[in-house]
């Protein structure tokens, strides 16, 4: 169980060591102390290991994650778990802008609030936010599930292609071509599955579903203001 203290070990050294891990490694549980808001901690992991970070992290933490579990015991800066492919990223506190951006797979769980543009251009990732999300969340979302236990800010799901956006609280406003939908049994079961994998106890029937109205898929002169 390697312990890395970032007040002593250079960050590049930590990331190099994590990148060198093979799928069958025995060093499966890493502890990182004193992150002090540094950027790009535990990015590009490609092995089924767990990395626990004891404090607040800066930008791009756990970006491009594949297979690994990264747990931040604090807040995260801009671009958390950006372009995640698989695995799990958990943050106990808040996340700054663009959390889970462009994520293709895996599960991102944010215990506190997420700032603006959470899940921007998400492409298959599942995101669960325990608090509220800021404006322009799920902007241009293409696939995946965004679950918000609190409220959503302005322009939720603006220019959405596809993706399921579940919000338990209020939505300040919906973005272009995003609309409320009546959830099907399949939608409810997908939500229940995401909540269960996130370890969040919440009743799926309390959430409203938002998704694509599919009116911007093809050019139509009546929609010119929305383009």
């Amino acid at each position: 169980m390697p312990d890395v203290d970032l007040s002593e070990t250079p960050l590049r050294e930590l990331n190099r060591a994590l990148h060198a891990l093979e799928p069958g490694t025995n060093e499966t549980h890493w502890h990182v102390a004193n992150p002090a808001g540094r950027h790009s901690i535990a990015v590009g992991l490609d092995a089924p290991v767990t990395v626990e970070i004891g404090g607040n992290v800066g930008y791009y933490c756990a970006g491009m994650n594949k297979h690994a579990t990264v747990h931040v015991r604090g807040n995260a800066g801009v671009g958390l778990a950006e372009n995640m492919m698989s695995g799990v990223v958990r943050v106990d506190g808040d996340a700054s802008q663009a959390a889970g951006a462009t994520g293709r797979g895996g599960l991102l769980v944010i215990g506190g609030n997420a700032s603006g543009r959470c899940g921007i251009s998400m492409k298959g990732i599942d995101i669960v936010v325990g608090g509220s999300v800021g404006p322009m969340s799920a902007f241009m979302a293409q696939a995946g599930t965004l679950v918000v236990l609190g409220d959503a800010g302005e322009a939720l799901g603006d220019s959405i292609y596809e993706a399921r956006l579940f919000v338990r609280g209020t939505v300040k406003s919906l973005g272009a071509d995003c609309e409320e939908k009546t959830p099907t049994d399949e939608d409810r079961s997908i939500l229940a599955d995401v909540l269960s994998r996130a370890g969040v106890a919440a009743d799926p029937s309390e959430f409203r579903l938002y998704g694509s109205a599919r009116r911007l898929y093809h050019f139509h002169v009546d929609n010119v203001d929305a383009y």
Partner: protein, 301 residues
């Protein structure tokens, strides 16, 4: 890029550490702005007194500053004291002598560039990384109630001291900016008609001037920033200081980064969280990201 650090103390027992704490914050942000660095420090109140911070040309130093102060004392009939820090000098005098001193400087020492004016505020800015500038100006020794620093990465204009932040367009007022304004030329023309003067073509100076104008017209700092939301177009995170106030505003899109922390002892702003990691009690602070298009303002009485 560019980095902003701001610290507003609520607990007076931290005042001796203000400069040291701000310096630590700015050094963390050096990578965001390695080209030039500047800071405004609000020292102890001195009713009836005024200070002008001037920048002396290359080679200016103790001797040149002393000569200016002696000349000013003779010309204004008031005792003008001088302190030199780096390439800057702080001239202190009774408030009623300030206009005469400004006139004297303009007429007799056009080489001395006026950086700031006020009762409490001093501004210093220079080329170089924050650790270099903080050291050259002995920021760590500066005391006061609040301070704002900026580390600049020059992307659209030259690396000059004139382009360095903070900008000051009014007594004890300063502004630092991360972003770019798109309507600054139009606003500058409006403000010039209102009698404001600008020294650079810089968009951030226009934002400072806009707030000075609004406050001159009677707005509070918070009200002036509310009005800025309607009148200034572009990308911005502003941190603004006045004699007793400290405020933050982000544009409605809020692309430029900002994180704040607050405890019973202080309020702090950083472009990135790492700037705040050296503050006392940060572990228990309320850390939050300021909302877009929302004015955050603190006043100290």
């Amino acid at each position: 890029m560019c980095g902003i650090a701001g610290l507003f103390l609520k607990d007076t027992s931290l005042e001796p550490s203000l400069g040291r704490l701000l310096g630590g914050m700015m050094i963390e942000l050096g990578d965001r702005g390695p080209d030039s660095s500047g800071f405004a420090v609000y020292g102890a109140p001195a009713p009836g007194q005024a200070k002008l911070t001037i920048r002396l040309p290359d080679g200016g130093g103790q001797h040149a500053a002393r000569a200016i102060a002696d000349g000013a004392t003779a010309a204004t009939g008031h005792a003008v004291e001088v302190r030199v820090r780096g390439t800057h000098a702080v001239l202190s005098m009774p408030e009623e002598a300030r206009d005469a001193l400004r006139a004297f400087l303009a007429a007799r020492h056009p080489e001395a560039h006026l950086v700031s004016s006020g009762e409490r505020m001093e501004i210093f800015k220079d080329i170089g990384r924050p650790e270099v500038v903080a050291d050259a100006y002995d920021l760590a020794a500066m005391q006061g109630s609040h301070a704002i620093g900026h580390t600049r990465m020059a992307t659209e204009s030259a690396v000059t001291i004139d382009g360095a932040h903070p900008f000051s367009t009014g007594d004890d007022q300063c502004l630092v900016h991360n972003g770019s304004l798109s309507n600054h030329n139009a606003v500058r023309r409006t403000l010039k008609r209102e009698g404001l003067a600008f020294e650079t073509e810089n968009d951030s100076e226009v934002a400072a001037g806009y707030l000075t104008w609004r406050m001159r017209e009677g707005a509070s700092l918070a009200q002036a920033l509310e009005q800025a939301l309607s009148d200034l177009d572009g990308f911005y995170t502003f941190v603004v200081g006045t004699r007793t106030g400290f405020a933050v505003l982000r544009d409605p899109i809020a692309c430029k980064p900002a994180v704040m922390a607050e405890t019973d002892q202080w309020v702090a702003f950083g472009s990135e969280y790492r700037a705040l990691t050296g503050l006392p009690g940060i572990e228990a602070a309320r850390v939050f990201e300021p909302e877009p298009a929302t004015v955050y303002a603190w006043e100290r009485t």
